[in-house]
């Protein structure tokens, strides 16, 4: 069966609700409308208003009540309508969701998934195209992942829901309907917190996640036509980071470029670069280079494609690294 990312997520959510009656959906417009991206399409019809809950327009309220539901034994899956609207819930997420298991010495786990459609490229207005991952990954107690393709979408959302820890689940909205992939529902998925080499190469390690995975694969292909062998890694998990495959790779290639849509300054790239350097110092032939959104607010959509890192900017960094 060939599915889009949107479909994979929808099927994964449905599967999780079928498997466990404690799984609930909450958020703005997730019910009748099925969410503005239709990721929860059909779920309220089939599971009822008690399990697929349209909420008042208040993100702190959504997350805060999800905390209470989790305390009562439920497994709420919260949808934040767009990346830029997660901030009213930031306090509940970093002070409560992230800390209650710790505060209670493990007596009150927080099996909450917070789904966030994120990233740019859809021609939207302000606050609809942001990449807030670093703001969560810096917070102990949260786990942060991002899927990049339909099959991962299907499995990872189920794994996130099954996790007894809170998971910030980042969905690259630009990819929702971009590509289709074959889903084998009987396959055994990789663990949730594992990064993955998705293309092998020997000259340089290109590290990406979420929306930049596709661009990175294209960059590797383009580089191949010029005789350059690029290894591409899909991080998948941003907290915890699974550095094993990354370090293995860089020890072989000696060079690394990391890319994401988020601002470069204090983005995931800074952490990955710092860790690679700490652990592969003598293997490195060049500093780890970072390609990301500029350190400016996300711009009006008519220039977003220039703001977002693209094939050319990734290749430029690859060239600079190889020329170092």
């Amino acid at each position: 069966m060939k599915i889009t990312l949107a479909k994979g997520l929808n099927m994964g959510l449905r599967k999780a609700m079928e498997d466990n009656p404690k799984v609930l959906m909450m958020g703005e417009d997730v019910g009748k409308l099925g969410g503005v991206f239709r990721i929860t399409d059909g779920l309220q019809k089939d599971f009822g208003e008690d399990r697929v809950i349209d909420s008042p327009l208040a993100e702190s309220g959504i997350v805060g009540t999800a905390v209470g539901m989790a305390m009562r034994g439920y497994r709420p899956v919260v949808e934040i309508q767009f990346d830029g609207f997660v901030y009213p819930a930031y306090d509940q997420i970093v002070c409560q969701v992230a800390k209650i298991n710790y505060r209670s010495q493990g007596r009150v786990p927080m099996p909450i998934v917070i789904r966030i459609p994120y990233g740019g490229g859809i021609g939207a207005v302000e606050h609809h195209s942001e990449s807030p991952e670093a703001q969560f990954a810096h917070t102990p107690g949260l786990k942060v992942v991002s899927c990049s393709n339909p099959v991962d979408g299907y499995w990872m959302i189920q794994q996130a829901i099954a996790s007894d820890d809170p998971v910030i689940f980042l969905e690259p909205k630009r990819q929702y309907h971009a590509d289709k992939a074959e889903l084998d529902e009987d396959a055994t998925p990789d663990p949730l917190h594992a990064s993955r080499v998705i293309r092998q190469g020997t000259d340089l390690t290109l590290i990406a996640y979420g929306p930049m995975v596709k661009t990175s694969l294209k960059a590797a292909e383009a580089a191949a036509t010029e005789g350059r062998s690029i290894e591409v890694i899909d991080l998948r998990t941003l907290s915890p980071l699974d550095m094993g495959p990354v370090l293995d790779s860089v020890r072989r290639t000696g060079r690394a470029v990391i890319t994401h849509e988020a601002h470069v300054n204090l983005g995931m790239g800074s952490e990955v670069a710092a860790r690679i350097t700490e652990q592969c110092f003598y293997s490195l032939e060049a500093p780890v280079l970072r390609v990301g959104g500029f350190d400016t607010p996300y711009p009006p959509s008519r220039v977003e494609e220039e703001w977002l890192p693209d094939l050319d900017r990734v290749l430029d960094a690859v060239d600079r690294s190889l020329a170092f």
Binding site: L33, P56, P88, V125, E126, H127, T296, S301
Partner: protein, 389 residues
């Protein structure tokens, strides 16, 4: 509600006519001065104190505002705008509120207040930039005392309250000087009323007795969610919990909206503090041009509200009472056509931003760090020159 009585009969009344409001007429508390049928009625407390000329002006404002809306919707369909937030059906609420303001009053809009922008003198062409994706607000808030559109629901209600606190500190409240005394209007929707920020704005405004009118267009929907999800009592009553007056006005009645908003603004300018005005109206169109309301609401409801059209009733009123002649109506149509052309042509001519422009105005005082990033990017862009890239 068997146990209700335990808490005394006075508390039972807070459980108003909920779960019905969309089909409901707005209840007896609705202030109305012009019926859907175009008949002038009187209200014991609020009266319309302007002349026929003003009514014709309101009519013209509403027709032109609707034209902005239909034109922009068409521009979106033709791919000239990325998205558009339609105001169809909310013209009276916005013109009534907008015309009640004085020059020195400041409006804090959400993203649908095209009619208020019109009243404050903002060139509607400037409204398109944000939806086209060439800027994030193409006007200077200080030119017309009309703030930038705010996408994060509710955030601007606190800005409005703070601005009003600034007016107090400037001695621009309660002096008795009509040129000086000022107030703020914060515009927001029924959905927004659930945000913490909006409720905090009520608290700050009450605590400091700030000159702000909270003007809520209850258009019955927050995207797909009906008003019942946000409140189980009539929304204007929210103000009671914070200690200032709340009023419900027929938001499809421009005369009543004008009269009620003006009274609230007078009160604010006079130093009497905040008021909540619920303009009871209906979102006749989709939430935005990307929304599909057939997924969540009945066309029945829409038909019901069509009978309450805010423009039609003024037209009937003007015609029936012989207050405007054919020339007048033709003139307004002519103006609307011109406005439409202005928007169509102007929209396509709006200049795209350049990639390097994005580095400007991140800070009032540019940093060396960011200048270096900009320069590096400029070099990078230059490296493609001549490549036909």
């Amino acid at each position: 509600m068997t146990h209700q009585a335990e808490f005394g009969p006075d508390l039972a009344e807070v459980f108003g006519p909920s779960h019905q409001v969309r089909h409901d007429s707005g209840g007896p508390e609705l202030v109305q001065l012009l019926t859907p049928e175009g008949e002038r009625v009187e209200h014991p407390e609020f009266s319309f104190d302007l002349d026929d000329e003003a009514v014709r002006g309101f009519y013209r404002d509403m027709v032109l505002t609707r034209r902005i809306d239909t034109e922009a919707t068409a521009l979106q369909r033709h791919g000239e705008l990325g998205i558009w937030a339609q105001l169809l059906g909310q013209e009276a609420a916005q013109i009534g509120a907008g015309r009640a303001m004085r020059t020195q009053d400041f409006a804090f809009p959400t993203y649908r207040e095209h009619g208020v922008a019109w009243c404050k003198g903002v060139d509607p062409l400037n409204l398109l930039g944000l939806f086209r994706g060439v800027d994030q607000g193409g006007w200077d808030p200080n030119d017309n005392n009309f703030g930038l559109y705010t996408i994060v629901i509710g955030a601007q209600t606190l800005h409005a309250t703070g601005y009003a606190m600034g007016m107090q500190r400037d001695g621009a409240v309660g002096t008795g000087d009509p040129e000086r005394d000022s107030a703020v209007i914060a515009h927001f929707g029924d959905g927004a009323s659930s945000q913490g920020d909006v409720n905090e704005a009520f608290i700050f405004a009450a605590s400091y007795n700030a000159p702000v009118v909270f003007f809520c267009q209850n258009n019955q929907w927050a995207i797909s969610e009906p008003i019942e999800r946000q409140t189980r009592i009539p929304l204007y009553q929210r103000a009671l919990g914070f200690g200032f007056p709340g009023l419900r006005v027929d938001g499809n009645d421009v005369l009543a909206t004008y009269a009620v908003t003006k009274a609230a603004l007078d009160r604010a300018r006079d130093g009497q503090g905040p008021t909540f005005v619920e303009a009871y109206t209906y979102r006749m169109g989709a939430h935005t041009t990307t929304d599909d309301p057939t997924r969540y609401r009945l066309s029945d409801d829409v038909e019901h509200w069509k009978l309450k059209d805010p423009i039609a009733r003024v037209e009937v009123y003007l015609k029936r009472n012989g207050l405007a002649d054919d020339d007048f109506f033709a003139g307004v149509q002519q103006e609307a056509a011109e406005l439409g052309a202005h928007l169509r042509e102007g929209c396509k001519a709006l200049p795209d931003p350049t990639p390097l422009q994005g580095f400007e105005h991140v800070y009032a005082e540019m940093t060396e760090e960011l200048a270096a990033q900009r320069d590096g990017y400029a070099d990078y862009l230059a490296s493609f020159e001549g490549e036909g890239h």
